[in-house]
């Protein structure tokens, strides 16, 4: 028995660096959520500052921002989930029965490329298209058609579409790789047999392919739903060039927390918004996981 406990010590030592990193950057901050219930006064220190109960939350909820950022975060995520899943499935289905394998690999590689670019890079690409003076849209489309140049970065009503497109541009290639891999693991015998029986492509897709990969689709969608209270910071902060005029349609919980802390230095408000996100986000991800567990226990987190 002494041999076994010795073996465990070896493994524990091996885990130490990783555990320290995990503890310091992920677990320790969990205990820091009490900051949201305090009125932080640097003179008194974090622990010495006065407890203010739910004051920070009451201030936060009383601002019109609370509703706007909650709505924006959820609405963008829902649109991204629906359109992103549909687009990625369409791409994967398109590639699945292409006979030209070289072309398939090429298409896949090109569509996957945007995934590796940071949002700062994407924001420059978008700027090249939308800049008021020199942008491609104004110079090559709007003006030749006789239109007045559009001040894209001052028009919040366009940005739900622009950000949705940017999000699809960056992620559809990535998601379609997963769906295509799932489709490739289907026994080709099923599809061959069906087409010999005279089934059309639409029937094969609806009756064979989609049902057989439905687990993968459901799991991916549920994982995204689990994160519905969190947003892709760079998309909403950098791609919009941090323009205040776009806040009404582009401010999300993450950008709000960042801006309230960094620009306004309002620790109470931003930590209240942050804890609100953590707690509601936690409930949603736990619920999503319970559903995943019912469908496919191997894929659930717990």
């Amino acid at each position: 028995m002494s041999l076994k406990s010795k073996a465990n010590w070896g493994l524990l030592v091996m885990m130490l660096p990783g555990f320290i990193a995990l503890f310091v950057f992920s677990i320790l901050p969990m205990f820091g959520v009490f900051i949201a219930f305090k009125n932080i006064d640097y003179e008194k220190g974090i622990f010495g500052s006065d407890w203010v109960g739910l004051d920070n939350f009451q201030f936060f909820v009383a601002t019109p921002d609370a509703l706007v950022i909650t709505f924006n975060t959820i609405a963008y995520n829902l649109v991204f989930i629906v359109l992103g899943t549909a687009a990625a499935l369409a791409v994967a289905l398109g590639l699945e029965n292409l006979k030209a394998k070289k072309a398939t690999r090429f298409y896949q590689a090109v569509m996957f490329l945007p995934y590796f670019l940071s949002w700062v890079v994407v924001s420059n690409l978008v700027f090249a298209l939308l800049s008021v003076d020199q942008g491609v849209f104004n110079r090559q489309i709007v003006q030749p058609l006789g239109g007045e140049e559009i001040y894209w970065y001052n028009r919040p009503e366009f940005w739900p579409y622009i950000l949705t497109f940017a999000n699809l541009w960056k992620y559809v290639g990535y998601t379609s790789v997963i769906y295509l891999a799932a489709m490739m693991s289907i026994d080709p015998g099923y599809i061959e047999a069906a087409s010999l029986e005279g089934a059309t492509r639409a029937q094969i897709v609806r009756r064979i392919i989609l049902p057989l990969i439905s687990n993968v689709i459901i799991i991916l969608v549920l994982l995204q739903i689990g994160k519905i209270f969190f947003s892709d910071f760079g998309l909403f902060y950098n791609v919009t060039m941090n323009m205040g005029s776009l806040f009404p349609t582009t401010q999300t919980i993450d950008t709000y927390v960042y801006r309230t802390l960094m620009n306004m230095g309002d620790l109470g408000m931003s930590s209240a918004a942050g804890l609100y996100q953590s707690v509601v986000g936690f409930v949603i991800v736990v619920l999503a996981n319970l559903v995943v567990k019912k469908i496919d226990p191997d894929k659930s987190l717990f």
């Binding site: 959520v33 298409y107 891999a181």
Partner: protein, 298 residues
């Protein structure tokens, strides 16, 4: 099957659709490349274009001569990426391997810890406070490396990889020969798991290379600006680079006036994504494999 060679209309339409999508993916990059090689005055006259109206390399000359800021950011980013990736990959593998061992008694506890960190996060402010008030790593190079060392998602991927690629019998027999756990890991396990570690390393490389979040939160020292953050600064204010050039002396006013601002902003983008795009054809297949492992196998 002679019919399989026949070119039919739906197939042609499909290729056309995919070519269009590929064009949409690549056009913005071509546009930025074109602008970076355009003459600044021509840009003002004719607007942005993927094909330079008047070819010029001034933007690149500007970036590499009048701004040592760019070169420092480049060196810093490479250093952080290399060190961060190496340490992170090793730490993740060393954490994940014991979790893949059925005879490891504390497995449940550590698996639970991993799940907990996936489900709940303290959020930005407590994280910020830990970094600043507990660790005091703000405005140091450690801030650019340490926070990204561990990722519970990669631990799960590696755990799966170890489970499926390391046979129990090998470990059993190594133990019989009297090898300790660390020895077994470094001389046997790590080699068998190399493809999995390569995948994690590639993901981590992208994380470090593409990061600007740390500079936005923890690091304000201009000596510690990485490439992405420098690009962000340049985008918001091209004068940022010329401010350094202005210190050079008499010619400064001239330099500022003739600043290739837009083309330099785009050239900055090109040199930042350059290494990724150039290496892309070689590493792309690893990613496809890695995603497949992580998402489909249990």
């Amino acid at each position: 099957m002679s019919t399989s060679k026949r070119i039919d209309l739906p197939t042609v339409a499909k290729h056309a659709a995919f070519l269009l999508i590929c064009f949409l993916c690549l056009y913005p990059l071509a546009l930025v490349l074109g602008i970076s090689f355009s003459d600044e005055l021509e840009i003002a006259k004719t607007g942005f274009s993927a094909i330079p109206a008047k070819f010029s390399t001034k933007a690149y000359e500007f970036l590499f001569t009048s701004a040592d800021t760019v070169i420092r950011a480049y060196a810093l980013t490479i250093f952080v990426t290399v060190v961060g990736t190496a340490v992170s990959t090793l730490i993740i593998a060393m954490f994940a391997y014991p979790l893949s061992r059925k005879d490891f008694r504390q497995r449940k506890f550590f698996n639970g810890t991993i799940i907990l960190t996936m489900l709940f996060s303290g959020g930005l402010i407590p994280w910020f406070m830990v970094c600043v008030n507990v660790l005091h790593i703000n405005d140091t190079i450690f801030a650019l490396i340490l926070p990204y060392l561990m990722s519970p998602w990669y631990v799960v991927i590696m755990r799966t990889f170890f489970k499926s690629s390391i046979p129990d019998s090998i470990i059993e027999s190594a133990k019989m020969d009297g090898a300790g756990e660390l020895r077994i890991f470094f001389s046997i396990v790590i080699h068998l798991a190399a493809p999995g570690m390569a995948t994690i390393a590639l993901f981590t490389t992208i994380t470090y290379w593409n990061d600007y979040w740390i500079n936005m939160t923890l690091v304000n020292d201009p000596m510690l600006y990485n490439l992405q953050f420098l690009m962000m600064r340049v985008q918001m204010n091209i004068q940022y680079l010329s401010a350094n050039a202005a210190n050079l002396g008499a010619a400064s006013a001239e330099i500022v006036r003739n600043l290739p601002s837009r083309s330099a902003q785009m050239a900055m983008t090109i040199i930042t994504i350059g290494p990724i795009v150039l290496a892309y054809p070689f590493f792309q297949r690893f990613f496809v494999k890695g995603i497949t492992i992580g998402s489909l196998k249990e």
